[in-house]
């Protein structure tokens, strides 16, 4: 009797839950495909210099894939180029929260913190950028920014 009940429960689970899980997986795939499509469209607009059109595409991509650091970085950069510094800051800080070694995020955030007058945070970002970057010219620039922010030149 017990075995029969178990078999019925197993059958019902298969009938009702399996399509739901397939549906969820399909939803996830669709979401990531849609996010990737929005992301590529946003980058294409950015390359054409059409930043006002790039920005909403990247926003949509980030909403569809909130755990993607690269998409957040791209959104942050375009937001900074449009002088939307608060949105840029949120996106760049999110990209660092997802990926602590995102070199470009530290570079862009350091410049943004400087513009906002947040000297201590800017110095921290420049120092992290110095640790990660391999570009000698930009490392010199980072050191110059740190000297300036510490009251030197």
């Amino acid at each position: 009797m017990l075995n029969r009940r178990r078999a019925v429960f197993f059958f019902l689970t298969l009938v009702f839950c399996a399509p739901a899980s397939r549906l969820r997986a399909a939803d996830g795939d669709d979401m990531s495909a849609a996010a990737a499509m929005r992301y590529q469209t946003g980058l294409a607009y950015e390359r054409l210099g059409r930043l006002e059109e790039s920005y909403p595409e990247l926003q949509l991509a980030c909403n569809l894939a909130p755990d993607n650091s690269q998409m957040s970085l791209a959104l942050g950069i375009v937001a900074c180029r449009l002088a939307r510094y608060d949105e840029g800051r949120r996106a760049l800080e999110h990209s660092i929260a997802l990926d602590a070694s995102s070199t470009a995020s530290y570079y862009q955030l350091a410049l943004l913190y400087e513009t906002k007058g947040l000297a201590d945070r800017a110095i921290e970002s420049w120092q992290r950028f110095l640790q990660l970057s391999q570009d000698a010219l930009l490392k010199d620039e980072a050191e110059k920014h740190i000297r300036y922010l510490q009251g030197g030149r």
Partner: protein, 206 residues
């Protein structure tokens, strides 16, 4: 044995060129300042419009920065009454200096050996070739541009009497997200350098 006039002048020209190059090289790092006695007599400074600065953004920023310094600041209409003239030139003003950002893990070449893998690198020069891994939708070398403003300014403080005696000279270049912030930073550093030179001069005369 006759030597031509041009040949006789060559050592002098070389000496002058060496002097100019040496001064130019130093000016990027430290200010040049005149004897203390003359600099200490500067109380009233006229700020003239800078060259290559059609909207007077740099000279206006200098005026703003120097107003609280204890100096009397006047504009060019009252320059005849000033002890010294502050003038200068915008050497470089690029509202869109571009850096390339590669999205994803990219192998970046180093000076001494094989490439190092860097996550979302920023580079001052485009990498060639780019080895990107894991780019979305199989597109290798996805990249975008970070645009910054770059401002470079050279300034001098010249004594009115005796005429044309340069009391201080300095230059500075900086980069930031926008032109207004960067101009403020450059004028701030140069104004601080000028104040320090005048304070040193005032201290030196006592």
């Amino acid at each position: 044995m006759k030597t031509s006039r041009r040949a006789r002048r060559l050592p002098l020209a070389l000496l002058a060129a060496f002097g100019v190059l040496s001064f130019g090289g130093c000016a990027a790092h430290r200010a040049a300042a005149a004897p203390a006695a003359q600099a200490a007599s500067v109380h009233r400074v006229a700020v003239l419009p800078f060259e290559n600065d059609p909207e007077n953004a740099v000279s206006n920023e200098f005026i703003r920065q120097l107003l609280g310094s204890g100096l009397q600041i006047v504009d060019r209409s009252a320059s005849g009454t000033a002890d010294a003239i502050l003038a200068g030139k915008v050497l470089d003003e690029r509202p869109s200096d571009k850096m390339i950002i590669y999205l994803g893990k990219v192998s970046v070449p180093t000076k001494n050996g094989p490439g190092v893998e860097v996550d979302n690198p920023v580079v001052s020069e485009p990498l060639n070739p780019v080895a990107a891994q894991g780019s979305p939708m199989g597109i290798a070398g996805t990249q975008m541009v970070s645009v910054n403003a770059l401002v470079g300014v050279a300034a001098t403080l010249t004594m009115q009497k005796p005429a044309s005696r340069i009391l201080w000279a300095d230059q500075y270049t900086y980069e930031g997200l926008d032109l207004a912030h960067t101009t403020r930073a450059v004028a701030g550093v140069l104004a601080q350098s000028l104040r320090a030179a005048l304070e040193r001069a005032a201290g030196g005369t006592h």
